[in-house]
Symmetry: C2
Subunit: 245 residues, 2 copies
Amino acid sequence: MGICLVEMSMPEALTNFCQSCTVRNRAICGDLHDDEINVLNKIGRRRWVEAGEQVLWEGDDAVVVANVIEGLLKLSTQTSEGKEQILGIAYPSDFLGRPFGETTPYGVEALTPALVCTFQRSDFDHFAREHPRLEHKLLERTLSELDRTRRWMLLLGRMNAEQKMATFLLDMADRLVPATCAPMPESNEVMELPLTRQQIADVLGLTIETVSRQFTKLRKEGLIDLPSRRDVRIIDRAGLEALAS
Amino acid sequence: MGICLVEMSMPEALTNFCQSCTVRNRAICGDLHDDEINVLNKIGRRRWVEAGEQVLWEGDDAVVVANVIEGLLKLSTQTSEGKEQILGIAYPSDFLGRPFGETTPYGVEALTPALVCTFQRSDFDHFAREHPRLEHKLLERTLSELDRTRRWMLLLGRMNAEQKMATFLLDMADRLVPATCAPMPESNEVMELPLTRQQIADVLGLTIETVSRQFTKLRKEGLIDLPSRRDVRIIDRAGLEALAS
DNA sequence: CGACCCCTTGATCTATCTCAAAGGGGGTGG
DNA sequence: CCACCCCCTTTGAGATAGATCAAGGGGTCG
């Protein structure tokens, strides 16, 4: 569908990152003209974060927002007792943080090494208000994210463990494809999960043991294969879809 | 906080509803100038819907969007087996529907008699793209709604029935106040729930029996009083907050 | 007055959680 | 290169919160 460029290793001395940004066409900056991009480039800063590194802290004053350029991150929050709920996974071109807000409403942590393009929120807010095309892109993205989040509410509130797992696996299979430049959904392709069993549990509102048992169950039923801890091969997509219903 | 006008019963012969709209200052049209409002007024249509009446159907082509002027509505979706999950409650000044999208992602049904200001989505999209101030308001509203929805994910995924109920009651107490023009949170004020027990269950991802038992439990513990089916008096707000944690 | 709907309460069942212990797999240090 | 260790995962056994099934109560409306 979209053009999927291989990242060029540019000499980092080049100051205008945006010109060579691999996600520019998909991210919210995609509709800006070159002169506008140049202004945005001046207020943004690229940063690599390691897997496991925290990028945004829940409850902090919302001082930075960011665009994901490469890698995967998780958005999460927790109860006062420390039970975690993962609110979503951020993929390349996704937007992070809370523009026009006082506090960051969720924590963000890298699941893989990730490259993010960060902005001071005040700079970003100011720029956005002056560039309706950027605000429009952000609006479309936020509306889509709201739809996705609401669909996940149905999973959390009304599905059993089996339905949750099937839905999760299909969702990952769909979303991981564009993120990894893979060809079209070869149903029997192996996908590498960016999440541990515990993190999958935190996405689905389950415990790690239940997730593990469901993996085993789906494998024994011949719907999936588990070549290694992190890898899953979907053998019977239609079967999973029937479970996810 | 905000000014809370008593709705004037205007002669409906007046064609420019916007000029006297009780939610105009709070809704997304709030920042428009008079001439812009006049254009918007021409493409919008006011409509009363009865309690129980469906306004938007999940999965339909997204042909209309709307603003809530008066009354309360529920947004909901369901599993293929028919289990319902309520995704949120829409209050006066809230926005309904999916601008810039193909299909309506959730159903909308009035909980009370409600007055909505509807637009053909194509008209609205067109108008919005030409009026950045309106798009900005819509963006802010969508961002807030996303935050709220994500907070609810923590409830659905990681809270037990007691925590869900306490959180629900506190949330309703907070949100019902501005909607009903009541004075400041007189903690011992009775609030009239706009939801049946079944609908509360559908908000919280529980069954009606569990909701009923939790109501009884909270009443016996002296945290709330239940003067009638639909009425709740919060007796011990701090106690509820401790449970909601 | 009766029917209907919504709500409450009780009894039982079960999906999932909790607690516990035993595999691997991969990396590190000897 | 091997062995050990650590962490993640799997599996088992038992406990339990909430679901399910069932029955009865009470308010409201025709």
